[in-house]
Symmetry: C2
Subunit: 258 residues, 2 copies
């Protein structure tokens, strides 16, 4: 199995390192990831600037290709141009992560980790986004990496519909404390956020985003609630954003002569 | 009616100027838009840097607030902190645009224009994203602006469900050539894109994205096809990305003992 790995925390992050070590045991891994941290970039593409690619080494050995762009840039560049140019195989699956922090509920729309996986599905390659639900500096990525080593080939065998990806969130617990997997819906939890106004040394004001995440849901088939119940949450997501129900309402209610 | 206007082409773009002139005829307009061009930024939020706000003037008069961030930053900053701080009214509706170029099909996921409207719906304010389907430098934004002057109060009167926005694309035609509105689904058209490899003056390679948009659909109830038929396309979109159909498949097919 050929696996393309990327992330949004940057090619030097601990999460992608543990993921790559685990996936190398089950396949041929190619890494193409952002040079620096790219969190909360959403599905950004770099169009006004050129992209640079450099070879990135870790512990004295070649680790992967670092790109001066976003997670979506990495996947598009790999699949559209770079892999073919280097005679590297087209991947059977793209895995994005392991993100340092959860990507659930509304966080999905801001997530560079998820956007990289989405870009793969746009280009017809099955994809998984994987996140660890901890922001702690000393978070342990090993249980999530071990899960991905078992999960990735099973997903490849089951198949994912065109345009859909699996968004995986692993609770920050030792493997023996994790109580299995749950297939979930995207929840309605949200950020109660605001901007703190501060004054810089030149006496000019600036604003800095801060927030508190509010668990809105109760139902165990929701992403954040499954995680609270010590389960690995797996949500199938796609990029057809049409609200079909309201489309019918609009067609029925809107004046015909408009 | 209080209207917050933003965009992704930047506060100095022609599209937002025509939109603001038109909407000032029907309500109290506050502009909070990016200082510079922010196309294809997706739903990016600025978290690692502070935001600056400056007052922006046009033709010798105050036009609005320029923000050193993304379209989603502008909306979040306005609704969470800035408007209240300045004793400005909370908007009844957010309008994002007029974008210079279409936001249909897969383009929606890369669009800063749409992401600004999405951010408004995350914060429970109804929203419309509006784009003109032309990339020409001398494109005429007036027909789209005139449409928004009529359409915005009707949307406010009809109401939009929580979490949903209307994504409007106006064909680049004179008003009398536009053949009404169509309520549409997000289409499956796509970019047949690649990266052109070039060599810089220092003999180092770089890659630059280029592409051709391929109309995939036929059905007149799809966004891009409605536009081809000279109609204004209106697609209700939301940010629940769950693929419910495949969720059922996963629950049925996945081994119980996993």
């Amino acid at each position: 199995m050929n696996i393309l790995v990327t992330n949004d925390d940057g090619i030097d992050a601990r999460g992608i390192y543990e993921l790559v070590l685990a996936l190398r045991e089950i396949g041929n891994v190619i890494v193409m990831a952002p040079l620096g941290e790219q969190s909360a970039v959403g599905h950004a593409l770099t169009v006004s600037l050129p992209l640079r690619v450099t070879e990135f080494h870790k512990n004295g050995a070649f680790f992967g290709f670092a790109v001066s762009g976003t997670p979506a840039d990495c996947v598009k560049l790999a699949l559209r141009t770079f892999l073919a140019e280097r005679d590297l195989p087209r991947p059977d699956i793209v895995v994005s992560g392991i993100n340092h922090g959860r990507n659930t509920a509304v966080n999905i729309i801001y997530s560079g980790t998820v956007s990289a996986a989405t870009e793969a599905t746009v280009l017809d390659v099955p994809a998984i986004a994987v996140s660890l639900t901890s922001y702690h500096l000393d978070a342990d990525f090993l249980p999530a990496a071990e899960f991905m080593r078992r999960f990735t080939p099973r997903v490849a065998a089951l198949g994912i519909p065109r345009g859909t990806l699996l968004n995986v969130n692993v609770p920050a617990l030792p493997t023996d404390k994790i109580e299995g997997v749950a297939f979930t819906k995207q929840g309605a939890s949200y950020w109660e956020d605001e901007f703190e106004k501060r004054i810089d040394p030149q006496e000019r004001p600036y604003y800095w985003l801060k927030g508190r995440y509010v668990l809105e849901d109760r139902d165990p088939d929701i992403d954040d609630i499954a995680i609270r119940e010590r389960k690995i949450s797996i949500t199938p997501i796609h990029y057809d954003l049409t609200n079909y129900e309201f489309l019918e309402t609009l067609r029925a209610k809107w004046p015909k002569d408009y």
